[in-house]
């Protein structure tokens, strides 16, 4: 049996997926990128290979994606995360029409057409507002683990607004809300709504069609997903492991690259 790998090295996490030639996912790994993106790609690949219980030599082709896609040693070629998320999402749900991916420093909305090809996409501008990094900064300001932001937000009773677009200014807003005695739950909810608002604009630009899938680390935050769904007026589905959809798409490209 031959295997194929996709490695997605983003600004916050490095993810690797191993699939077999029947396109069945065998294993994956998600590791923090840290301060060495090259090593992060290698570590994620090694971890996924170990979990798959195979030898690295059995991996016939590797495609990389993500911000550090050109620094992944194992990869024969690279693809953008836009193409990979569309590919991965289409593989999981062939009726997908729109993919929303919020990663560490980018948020994007992708319109997916026939055979998982990208019809149109919109990305945040230069600024990291509304991305995973934004959420991380706010979680730090609230002294809450990133993964618990949504549970905290669920306890919100008062609607607050964070209006600043800039992450730095929004952080000061959070600090001033704290100093005004507002509850962490209400502030967390406001942070999630700020992300939903900003992302909603991108989604509107490319359009909502059929099944809407949300990928990337921020999709694990249920408050953001619910508020965003409200914002765009359409249900949003989150795959079981939203963080590896890009790497999965890259692995699928690896099969095609080998076949071609």
């Amino acid at each position: 049996m031959r295997y194929f790998a996709g490695i997605d090295v983003g600004s916050l996490s490095a993810d690797a997926v191993i699939i077999n030639e029947d396109r069945v996912m065998i294993a994956y790994a998600i590791l923090p990128t840290g301060n060495n993106s090259r090593r992060a790609g290698t570590d994620a690949f090694d971890a996924a290979v170990a979990r798959a219980g195979i030898d690295p030599s059995q991996v016939a082709a590797v495609v990389s994606t993500g911000y550090s896609r050109d620094r992944v040693l194992q990869a024969g070629e690279s693809k953008t995360e836009i193409a990979c998320h569309a590919k991965g999402a289409y593989f999981l749900f062939p009726d997908v029409g729109t993919v929303i991916d919020i990663g560490g420093q980018d948020s994007k909305a992708i319109r997916v057409g026939p055979r998982g090809r990208v019809v149109n996409f919109a990305m945040n501008d230069k600024c990291a507002a509304g991305t995973g990094r934004f959420l991380e900064v706010m979680a730090t300001a609230l002294q809450v683990p990133l993964g618990e932001m949504d549970q905290l937000a669920a306890r919100s009773t008062e609607e607050l607004t964070i209006s600043s677009i800039c992450t730095v200014f929004a952080e000061s807003e959070v600090v001033s809300l704290i100093s005004r005695g507002k509850t962490p739950a209400d502030i967390a909810q406001a942070v999630c709504r700020a992300i939903a608002r900003r992302t909603g604009g991108l989604v509107t630009r490319v359009g909502v069609a059929d099944r809407v899938l949300m990928t990337g680390g921020v999709a694990k935050n249920r408050a953001v997903v619910a508020l965003l769904s409200e914002q765009i007026g359409h249900p949003i589905q989150v795959p079981e492991e939203p963080q590896i959809v890009g790497a999965l798409g890259a692995a699928l490209f690896a099969i095609e690259a080998r076949a071609a």
């Binding site: 953008t80 836009i82 990208v118 149109n120 996409f121 990305m123 230069k126 630009r205």
Partner: protein, 401 residues
């Protein structure tokens, strides 16, 4: 850049121009905006100096950051056009590739490129205590009208009177018409050269045209400028006939909208070449081909024609016209997509760009992408962000081939 024999000639012309401007004791110097009617200055023996051009040179030489920091330390906001900041800094420190620009005797400013230039030139006028002449060219929301032409022509006549008084000799209209004719020759050749890129592969690309803009902007109306563009045209035409492309392999043909990113020219050149993507045409370099483009059979008077061409500049007309123009270029040049540079410095060029992208994509069925960048300020530019968007755009074009 595509290796062209003409490049040496251009360097020689521009070097001589700067040497004369920096050393002359006889000729008056006027600072002028890139969209102003330089023909009046050329025919009056005034040396035109283009701060915008100089700012671009500073950025291409990776000197703009220090100059902008000097301007910002004086209190100029980071939100002002980076050309203005680069020039304020170059003036304060006498910096940049030629050690600052020669002091002006007067200033000529036209609002067809933006309204920032009014405040910018007022700052210069106050500093040097020199007169400022503004040619106001209203925005063409709904196309060109007789009233707008008359309004602009009246200002040209005022400009002639101003020059006559300032220089102490009457404005020579006969000579002016000769200069206009030379300007027309140069812009004709420039436009013909740019349109050679319709061929596949394109023998010239936008990164070349950004570089070869120098003389058409600064020396339009001189004999050497007209001769230069004839030379350039002949060389590119020959390349076209021989089927020589501007990049080794051309798979994608795209339009670039807005100014270049001057401090990333080389990196972007390599980026596009590696991905077989030729920047075939751009709205920016085309702007100096406009004078020969306005062929309303009803307009024959040279002043009317001049007014029409200075009003009818891409960034001085409304969205409907921009959409039509972009769609026409995409069709005529057989393009596979288009890139829009949302330029933090140049608001009139960038406003409404996301909507424009959607409209043009719908109209032409071609993918487009908006990248966030700046013409002159590397501090607001991210290689990774821009290149990810461009790569995704190229993937989208591939899917459409």
């Amino acid at each position: 850049m595509t290796e062209l024999k003409a490049t040496e000639k251009m360097k020689e012309i521009l070097t001589n121009y700067y040497i004369e401007a920096k050393t002359t004791t006889q000729k008056p110097i006027a600072w002028i905006t890139s969209g102003a009617p330089v023909e009046f200055l050329i025919s009056s023996g005034v040396i035109p100096i283009y701060p915008e051009n100089y700012a671009a040179m500073c950025a291409a030489n990776h000197q703009s950051v220090a100059l902008m920091e000097a301007a910002e330390a004086e209190g100029f906001s980071q939100d002002i056009c980076a050309y203005a900041r680069t020039d304020f800094g170059a003036d304060l420190t006498q910096g940049g590739p030629v050690g600052g620009l020669p002091a002006p005797h007067f200033l000529l400013c036209s609002t067809n490129i933006c309204k920032t230039v009014i405040k910018w030139y007022e700052v210069v006028a106050r500093k040097y205590k020199v007169p400022l002449f503004v040619v106001d060219t209203p925005f063409l929301h709904d196309g060109l009208t007789r009233e707008l032409i008359d309004y602009t022509v009246r200002q040209f006549k005022d400009l002639e009177r101003f020059l006559g008084e300032f220089l102490g000799r009457p404005f020579d209209r006969d000579h002016f018409l000769e200069v206009l004719s030379l300007a027309r020759d140069a812009t004709d050749y420039w436009k013909k050269t740019l349109y050679l890129a319709k061929a596949r592969p394109a023998p010239i690309n936008s990164l070349d045209s950004f570089i070869h803009l120098g003389p058409i902007v600064t020396l339009r109306g001189t004999r050497e400028c007209a001769d230069y563009y004839k030379l350039l045209y002949e060389e590119i035409n020959l390349r076209g006939k021989q089927g020589i492309g501007s990049i080794p392999e051309e798979r994608y043909r795209v339009l670039w909208d807005n100014l270049p990113v001057w401090f990333k020219m080389r990196r972007l050149e390599k980026f596009f070449e590696k991905r077989k993507c030729a920047l075939v045409v751009n709205t920016y370099a085309n702007s100096w081909g406009g004078i020969s483009d306005f062929l309303d059979p009803g307009i024959t008077d040279p002043y009317d024609l001049l007014a029409a061409s200075y009003l009818n500049v891409y960034i001085n007309f409304g969205f409907e016209e921009r959409i039509k123009y972009l769609a026409k270029l995409i069709d005529e040049f057989s393009l596979t997509g288009f890139i829009m540079h949302s330029n933090r410095s140049c608001k009139p060029y960038s406003v409404g760009m996301y909507r424009l992208q959607e409209e043009v994509s719908q109209l032409t069925g071609k993918p487009g992408v908006v990248i966030e960048a700046d013409q002159n300020d590397p501090r607001v530019y991210s290689d990774a962000q821009v290149e990810t968007r461009l790569e995704a755009f190229i993937e989208a074009m591939e899917a459409c081939l």
